[in-house]
Symmetry: C3
Subunit: 144 residues, 3 copies
């Protein structure tokens, strides 16, 4: 398997994070909040925190995306990954508009991330059984 | 080598981070600190900072775990990785209880992380010698 | 391809982040800013924010480095990676000295990171054409 699709989703994720960073830079200019300051009007703080929150989850997302894609199924992981990235965009815009606006997209993202973690776990268990126990659970299930 | 064990430790790390995030969400409710705010009573701030600190080191940890596991030895990396994750749990609970409580587990985590970085370095140097200098340092050491 | 050079740059990146963390710990002692506090004199806040900013971009950097190195060219990615790491060191020192001092190195780092994202994209498109469309764009370009 060449992980081309995982690579494509990864690049989208990088572009999304770059976009969030640029929004913080514009908000710093607009609301005159110069580094190292991070507090200012609520409008600024929401954009600032939205980017921080997305950055915090970015490594979790990339890790789950690739673990799930390598151990279980590339296409399935990429679908969950695209949903997550779509949700994060909504989260960022929603949070920038109002604190309340971040909630619905956050639940959506959480579901997509849990799906990736779930797929990763299934993939790792299947691989473990195949490698160390010489048992192919998929084949057993199929022939049952 | 199929990196099944690295995958398993990675999933544990993801679950641990998810647990930390949930604790911050509960603490936000308990101490009534609504986003985008991040300051509140010290009890809240310690939980909040504990999660931030763990998130900050998560990418370093995953990177060192896999570099060490791929270039040197999967099992050894996973042992260091499990120690690190155990230390981080203690760090989170210790920091939530008191600022002082974070210190002992932090030193423990730092040691586990340095071990992973050390293993990574040894692994990369060995691979470099094998690939580019056509010298197998392990074999030379063994026959010496 | 064994990704030895990517591994070497990755270890350098880990060491750099460890160095930044240690600087924050020293600054906390020097300016007496005990956790969970994060505000203090501007000298402290600049060191603190410099490390936060570098940590925020670390996962983006590692992700772009490896995507570019695996899908396009290991050596080229490592050169961009080394430039990025050099720029981050200048960023950290510049930001620690004055807010203004962070700007020039930041633009430099941004360019190195965009180069990595650009290389990743080219690599993924080439691989996609090769795998799914059975078209080797490199060969077509070479024979044109
Ligand atoms: N978290 C960053 C995101 C955007 C960014 O990378 N900004 C650059 C240019 S203003 C920076 O150096 N920020 C300083 C900082 O993060 O303290 C921020 O708050 O500014
Ligand atoms: N760092 C996060 C960790 C937990 C989390 O992801 N919280 C969600 C739901 S309360 C959020 O949207 N936080 C807003 C923020 O991080 O500013 C926090 O401080 O809240
Ligand atoms: N972001 C960290 C970087 C350095 C670090 O890891 N410090 C340790 C020892 S002082 C810590 O536990 N920091 C507490 C915190 O991050 O809230 C900091 O602000 O301190």
């Amino acid at each position: 398997m060449e992980p081309v699709l995982l690579g494509a989703v990864t690049i989208l994720a990088l572009l999304e994070q770059a976009y969030f960073s640029l929004q913080v830079i514009y908000a710093r200019r607009k609301y005159k909040v110069s580094p190292p300051n991070t507090s200012g009007p609520p409008e600024f703080e929401r954009v600032f925190r939205a980017q921080v929150n997305c950055s915090e989850y970015f490594p979790l997302f990339i890790t789950a995306l690739w673990t799930s894609g390598i151990f279980l199924h590339q296409g399935l992981s990429c679908v969950c990954g695209l949903l997550y990235l779509y949700g994060r965009l909504q989260y960022f815009w929603g949070y920038a508009a109002s604190s309340q606006g971040r909630l619905a997209p956050l639940y959506f993202c959480a579901k997509a991330l849990w799906a990736l973690i779930g797929c990763s776990s299934v993939g790792v268990v299947l691989s473990f059984c195949r490698m160390y126990l010489k048992v192919d659970l998929l084949q057993i299930t199929a022939s049952a």
